[in-house]
Symmetry: none
Subunit: 219 residues, 4 copies
DNA sequence: GATGAATGAGTGTTCATTCAT
DNA sequence: CATGAATGAACACTCATTCAT
């Protein structure tokens, strides 16, 4: 039993116990005592490696987000072709990776979202993650669509991915990953198809009235 | 101070205080004492009108869901024309009604979803609500699309609506209702447009392989 | 068992239990649980009547200070003659009243002083009390002595009273009240005797150099 | 980094860190972890040099008391004349030495007194210190006063010194050392002046009745 | 000699719930 | 109907101490 250099081991151990606890009883009832018991360590060790319970939860959230990012990146780096469609598909599939559609992850995400409405530190994490998805999508759409349409397509696809994930998570049945991916892909293809339909002169700018309204919120 | 017929008044008073408390501190920290204080009544009275805290929360959730249903129904009943598009638009707009995009409602929905993963009674409420949106959308799509495509369109639009709402709620900035509606409408129109593109003979059935897979999860 | 109007009864009950607990184990080890047990009530009741442990302790300190004030005032109101010496004697005797030289009071005072160095609310209480003794003494000396000498006499007698009390409390043996009073009285009489010895012209002002230095600290 | 002969260095390092911790947060909140951090060493080392926390605290108290003793002795050894008044003055000034009127020392003394009421080992230390002051004073007064009066003078001056120190420490403002010394000196001189006023035959014995009472408590 | 990982009992506090009034 | 007094278990967190390295 090593007595030095335990920090990374214990941290991971405790993060996984937290996911397990959230899966079993929810974030609200995931007490320090339960998490410690699941990790097979004493209560006090948590404040030794994380400042307090919030620290542990934030670390757990960061870990789940890191898993999501990796699920996407692994797929993108393995791509044979560098087309926007291939990248978008990788992003979609990464969002429905096995690491994201299991019980602990789904319950943790939902609890995270609810908590982020009241905890500034979690809210910041959440915004970074939200923006990452949008930004990745927008970047790929931008390669074939004018800015305004790329933004709208990215916003729509990000929302569709999150919505499909949300409804899948809440359904309580097994998550039908394939169906979700199929619906998201269809949306992606419908948006990509616009590159052939848009009139060249209107391509860079939205219709005036819409542009104004959208512009008010930075659209 | 009337001593009879107080029940509906007090119940509504307490439900609104609960929404206020959740808005202020989150569901986890919305204690009986805080809710009672916000409602201007004593602690003990809550168990008099609701069995316990869970009863109050379930009633609050039902109330928010009822508001959502009314937001949709009012719009549908006011329709001038009975086209599927008009109904779908009413459903979309109802989901972004003012009653659903304010702080208390958004925070309550998020907390509701997180809790529903662990509380069977809330999970039941949640499934009914989810199914209602899907069912309403599917019913309208079905008037112009074959069953398989109607289902997919309904699933997609339901997810898109929820996803747009979710991302709007989590953003922390003001909710850009118009943009959300615009994106959802575009999706609706793209789906409705299929009625002219589908080959007549394939209309009622999806390709065999997909049908099988989808059917396995009750598609 | 009355269920309303318990506040003053419970508060007094808890204050006395606090004194008892401090007497038994010291302020540092006087836990909420011990105090509640000594009072014969539940742990939770303390936060119902006092905001928290600090609230209870502050209330206890106020109570001990009030007792001291009353011990002095009762004696002063019972005086047959209105001479400065009679008042000063009453103040001295009041400070060695039975309510101040018992175990619980002595231990509470000592703990109070130590805590007041780090808790602003207790420090404020402490300063009020300290100033009251000085002020009462100074007021009486002032009737027969010029200002400067009255102030010095008051400062000296206040310190002597506190010092006699302190050394008595710390001795661990029984408190020799009579001896303490005798020593304080002698000091009082030596100071009062100055009224016949002071040269008339120097009476109102101290020697210049001393006045300057003393004045720098508000002397 | 030497590995031998560290004991006195480490002990002094830890004692000074303890004084610093007590100054910052009070004895009650001066945890081992804080003291170790202030000393720049690890938690575990404290039990290596002191048996436990009590050992460290007792050593710290002894150190402060030693400083007081040295503050007095240095002054007495530097005296030009061997008169009682010179010695008494040195004792008074030593008690208001810079080593005794700074924040760490004042807070430590107050905490020490409070703790000594409940910890026999500290109580013993405290009694030794108290007796030393009395004994030193009494010894000098005895050179010019009969026993009974010397004792009373010593008791009074000891109490006045402690009381002046106490009120200065508690005031929270800067400690007006000069004023305290002036008041104590005046008392000393008033007592010394008795050597010329006492009737020779009554010099060695107090009045009978008082002697009896005082004797009962070891007067 | 020195570290810091690990423990687990103990702390103040919160809270849903009950119930006499 | 309505109050608020009272409970006691549960909570996050602290901390002195131990001990393998």
């Amino acid at each position: 039993m090593p007595k030095v250099g335990m920090q990374p081991i214990r941290r991971q151990q405790l993060i996984e116990a937290t996911l397990q606890a959230v899966d079993q009883v929810g974030l609200g009832d995931a007490s320090i005592a339960l998490i410690a018991r699941l990790a097979g360590v004493s209560n006090g060790i948590i404040s030794h490696y994380f400042q307090d319970k919030n620290g542990l939860i934030a670390a757990t959230m960061s870990y789940v987000m890191k898993m999501l990012g990796e699920g996407v990146n692994v797929r993108r780096e393995a791509l044979q072709e560098d087309t926007p469609r291939a990248h978008l598909l990788a992003i979609i599939e990464g969002n429905f990776d096995a690491s994201q559609v299991n019980g602990p992850a789904m319950k943790t995400w939902l609890a995270f979202w609810a908590s982020s409405m009241h905890q500034p530190s979690l809210h910041r994490l959440q915004r970074i993650n939200d923006h990452r998805l949008y930004s990745n999508l927008c970047c790929q759409f931008r390669r074939v669509l004018p800015l305004y349409h790329a933004r709208k397509a990215a916003r729509g696809l990000a929302a569709l991915i999150d919505g499909l994930w949300l409804r899948g998570a809440l359904s309580g049945d097994g998550f039908d990953t394939e169906q979700a991916i199929r619906i998201a892909c269809e949306y992606m293809d419908l948006q990509l198809a616009k590159q052939h339909n848009l009139p060249p002169q209107a391509a860079e700018e939205p219709p005036a009235t819409l542009a104004l309204k959208a512009g008010m919120r930075g659209g």
